[in-house]
Symmetry: C2
């Protein structure tokens, strides 16, 4: 099957599930629920959930059990974008072709909308069959509460101060400064890498991967995560503005040190290629089963939006 | 034992546990961890954790198993204060006699500090014995993963858009407007009430309370939660500024509708007295065992700071 069609199908599955998990826009108080829908259904590519689903498919056809935690990861990603766009952070007016949350709903509401998505993510992660029949039944019939708590713990660590928030903190502190290679690597590995790694690992952990496979996939995810941040930096210079729905050049405007500012455009592209090859290498032992994941990796690292 | 001494002892237990669960201030990246310590150890009374512990003591002497989720509730409460104090929300410069987080660390870092505490709360809630030996061993040896997931779910709902955040949203939207009695009641029940109710319920749920007792304590907690918000409103007019460590009159300054602005000072006090008596009534069946909880209720509702 052509990758684009397959991604569209998986994206539709995730979008349906997100619609199920999110409170209705009209639920009281409606302002906050409108704000949640506005950001969650803003045309995101759902890369993290799809990575989790495709990793799960390496081990089991029952990938539907991964839907709830995959949705939780997407909500954590979305909350981080809402807070990241705030005037006190990156101060972005547009994302995906639309005004950012605080431009539409005001700063106070945008802060609360981010808080709400993070909270909802953990509500979903603790959800039980009687609460979420349709989406939990496959999931719960295959996953023990112990394993689920372990996955929840991993996701919380990945999203916290030793993971995504840590990367965000160092990124924020580095604006307008020259930074070392080590600091840049810390930002890469944490700001984007931590959630990417968690996505891949939860797909494996919930599908009965053995320790050896889990280790391989963790290495794959780390390499992908590092390259992912370089792609973000490259898109801010060479991306398709129309498809991205935002103006390029924000990093330069914010005097943000990036892989490109430290190593130049060619240096960054060379590093992307290296990381791409190293990541693929970790998938070697999975044979044909990993073909979609390979194509997905290529798509993630060489997209122009 | 005198209530103050008992509260001091319980507070010390909670403070020790919070120190155990929080990353060290020097952990990388240090800025965020300093910000977490700054707000978590700012002299909070630990009312929510102590309510959870005292409720648990009605049923079992093994109240130590309640410490991790009680700490999680305190972190959720603290995150809500940090975000609430931001310029886009209540715009408060002082809390508990010290500058608020954003005045010390900047707005971006204060937003991230709130996010981090909320995330850490759910990390603790998903924690396992091998990760948190000292504080998890009692806890885990008595609580099944199923019950734990149920408690986590309840806490997430209480902290979300149908709970605390919902109350915060309506509060924010009501500034400078005249509101109905129903709207004020919604704010009371959600902004403060939801976490208070969750505190009491988790103490009961994790200590083997039967459904009848759980129902009674839920009613008790709702009445206490409603009265709690009235006390907040009263403190902003009649509180001891020195002990509170902040200036009174913020509600009037922000043109915030409160119980006092709607019913007057005497009306608010009369309502507090009514709610106090109704709350105590729900504790009648617990006999002497509930004496400390009764004293604690009186302290919470009639304090001047």
């Amino acid at each position: 099957m052509h990758l684009n069609k397959l991604l569209e199908e998986k994206k539709a599955v995730i979008d349906d599930a997100l619609r199920f998990f999110l409170p209705d826009e009209t639920d009281y108080p409606p302002t906050i629920h409108r704000a949640l829908h506005y950001s969650v259904f803003a045309g995101g590519k759902r890369i993290r959930p799809i990575l989790a689903l495709q990793t799960a498919e390496l081990f089991s056809p029952n990938w539907r059990r991964i839907i709830p935690p995959a949705c939780a990861l997407e909500l954590i990603h979305t909350y981080s974008l809402i807070h990241d766009d705030l005037p006190a952070m990156d101060n972005d007016d547009y994302r995906r072709g639309r005004l950012t949350s605080h431009k539409v709903f005001g700063e106070g509401m945008a802060i609360l909308a981010g808080d709400a998505l993070l909270t909802l993510a953990f509500e979903i992660l603790a959800g039980t069959k009687d609460k979420y029949g349709e989406y939990e039944s496959d999931y719960w019939s295959n996953v023990s509460p112990e394993v689920k708590l372990n996955v929840n713990f991993e996701i919380a660590v990945a999203a916290g101060t030793k993971g995504m928030i840590g990367g965000q903190v160092v990124d924020l502190k580095s604006e307008g400064k020259s930074i070392t290679k080590e600091t840049l690597e810390y930002i890469e590995e944490h700001k984007t890498g931590a959630l990417i790694t968690a996505s891949v690992r939860l797909g494996a952990l919930l599908s009965g991967a053995n320790n050896r496979d889990l280790h391989r996939l963790t290495l794959y995810a780390r390499l992908l995560g590092n390259a992912f941040q370089i792609v973000d930096d490259l898109l801010d210079i060479e991306g398709n503005e129309e498809k991205m729905g935002k103006a390029k050049g924000a990093d330069a405007r914010n005097q943000k040190p990036t892989y490109v500012s430290l190593y130049g455009l060619e240096g960054a592209k060379k590093r992307r290629e290296e990381l791409y090859k190293l990541a693929l290498k970790e998938l070697d032992d999975f044979g044909d089963k990993a073909d979609v994941l390979r194509e997905l990796t290529r798509f993630i690292l060489y997209r122009n939006y």
